[in-house]
Symmetry: C2
């Protein structure tokens, strides 16, 4: 199996730890490895480094190369600027198709955490099998709460089965719902969260991109022609083709809205593997063991903090300073050399506003 | 009028801004001047630098000299170690008595804020007048809330009057009451907070110390004898006397519990002058103008913070880092190079615990 990892996220939701200079995928949030390294290791039983491509921005190429020393340098695909995930995935598919036009590829995000790796790998192996018939396979996350921050997938008739795993026809993709609708989706049992993790044959996804986003397809054809001359390696020649053609993509198009919502022959494999896209600090807390009061202390040693009458609070510090907390509950406290964040867990999404504010100030 | 300023506080309640190295009296909490400088300036219309003594610890002498360039160096009285305010005030009284045995002195703390300076000065002038008859005058703060953090003074019959000011006999001193008792005190109208600000003739306070704390009095006699030889200047000779005699003081005695509670001829002048002993971060917030949401931002410029859906919160930062706050209320957030404090205003007193924890860690 081939794979592409999207590592272009610009990291505003975990400010002040994630910054434009060091977005989430390059951070150690869940353990000793960075999110990108975790992602690569997690799929490595199914995808060796030689069949892996990482799509990122020019400015992050060096970080990707540094964090993934086993990845061939010519498997790093650097975009001059972000044009959405349809173009990013298309680039990887074009390079892979240059080596094997009917190869099956998985598409992953570099900043997701998954607790049950074995379960995830089993689902991926099944997805690879299902995709051989031309289906566009999406991994759907079985919801455990009425989350309003994700898109949902309505599941239909059974398409294939293997052990406990099932692939179901996708009836429709649904944008982020309101809370009431999310509650209905959860209760119905026929909706899954859209994880943004896909498995498909490269000819099939390129065919759908050609049909639905022709502007991108023209660029991918040129990149594919160059990649066939290099055996799928992203050499200076291929990079030059990308750089020259890139400005012709005028619209930012996501793979979800631009392609999957209108594509044919889509199936979903629902999974429950402890998936966490770490979209906010509230989710970072979920990656760590909490103490009896529900507090999570990360990034600093135990002698550097004192929490009095405090519960359900995340203390994340990388400064080595003493952190004293008293009489608070349900808070997120993040202390890094770049800044200080104090917010309620309910307001974890507001961090994006703070990060945008910081970005504007620096401009 | 002579004066002594007690500048020996070790500053645990405003951690992480106040530290053993830089306690509260040396900090700029309320404006461009430090608390010590404010204290000196506030009494300067009644007490010129030549009649002012500052009692502090050896380790703070240099800070006092630096912050008060107009104060004669020989008016800094440095204690080898803290033995309580009875000894501190006694030292100043002994030096002043060496110049004028019947001088009236005021005793002040170096870390109180007072909003109505003219009102305070008028009360002091009246206190000086009252003290001439031998009364030990204490300034009592008319309470505006059922505070449990202060001692109270029960006021009795009128002793003297001048315009709106009255001096009343003190019936008794009461230790910090519980909340219910504090409510009764407030409602009765005959209790004032003990501010720890006193005015008296030096011969009278030395007489009471002799009667009530003879252990200290012996030491003060030696210091006084030396000070008479130097005209009240704390020269190397006087310093040597203090250093030699100091270990003979075996008990720590406060002027309140050790002397005032048992002394004769005590009167209180109740005042309402916006007194604030800045005993906690919650009180620091009261020194600054709040915005429409009740937030106070101090120590950092407006472009360095963003507060979203936040109310009744103090943000005090000296690091220059960006501070982002969202969805919180009634919090104290203090960010300095030495540490980070996040606590509810109700738990402002717990800061002391954090500071003690830090102190132990550093030992």
């Amino acid at each position: 199996m081939y794979a592409s990892i999207l590592a272009g996220g610009s990291g505003t939701r975990l400010w002040p730890l994630s910054t434009p200079a060091t977005p989430k995928q390059f951070l150690r949030l869940a353990g000793p490895e960075t999110m990108l390294q975790d992602t690569v290791r997690r799929i490595s039983p199914l995808c060796p480094p030689d069949q892996l491509y990482v799509v990122t921005f020019d400015s992050y190429s060096a970080s990707v190369a540094e964090q993934l020393p086993d990845l061939p340098r010519e498997h790093i695909i650097a975009e001059p600027e972000g044009k959405g995930t349809a173009a990013s995935i298309g680039l990887a598919a074009a390079c892979i198709a240059a080596r094997d036009p009917q190869a099956v590829m998985g598409s992953f995000h570099a900043d997701h955490a998954i607790a049950d790796e074995a379960g995830f790998q089993a689902a991926l192996a099944f997805a690879e099998h299902v995709a051989r018939d031309g289906s566009l396979v999406t991994l759907g996350i079985t919801p455990d709460r009425p989350e309003t921050g994700y898109g949902y997938i309505e599941m239909g008739a059974s398409h294939a089965e293997q052990g406990v795993l099932r692939a179901l026809d996708v009836k429709r993709f649904v944008e982020k719902p309101d809370f009431h609708t999310a509650q209905e989706f959860l209760a119905s049992g026929v909706y899954a969260w859209n994880s943004g993790i896909f498995v498909w044959r490269v000819d099939r996804i390129l065919e759908e991109i050609r049909r639905l986003v022709p502007e991108i397809s023209g660029v991918l054809d040129e990149v594919g022609a160059a990649a066939r001359r290099t055996g799928g390696k992203v050499t200076g020649e291929v990079e030059q083709v990308i750089r020259n053609a890139w400005p012709r993509i005028t619209k930012t198009v996501t793979i979800d809205q631009g392609v999957m919502e209108h594509a044919d022959q889509i199936v979903v494999i629902p999974i429950s593997v402890g998936w966490n896209d770490i979209g906010s600090w509230a989710q970072v807390a979920g990656l760590h063991a909490a103490d009896a009061q529900g507090n999570v202390v990360a990034g600093l040693d135990a002698t550097s903090h004192l929490a009095i009458d405090t519960s359900d609070t995340l203390i994340y510090s990388t400064t080595g300073r003493m952190v004293g907390v008293a009489g608070v509950s349900g808070l997120i406290i993040v202390d890094t050399p770049d800044g200080l964040l104090v917010c309620s867990k309910e307001h974890a999404q507001d961090v994006k506003q703070v990060a945008e504010f910081v970005k504007k100030r620096l401009e």
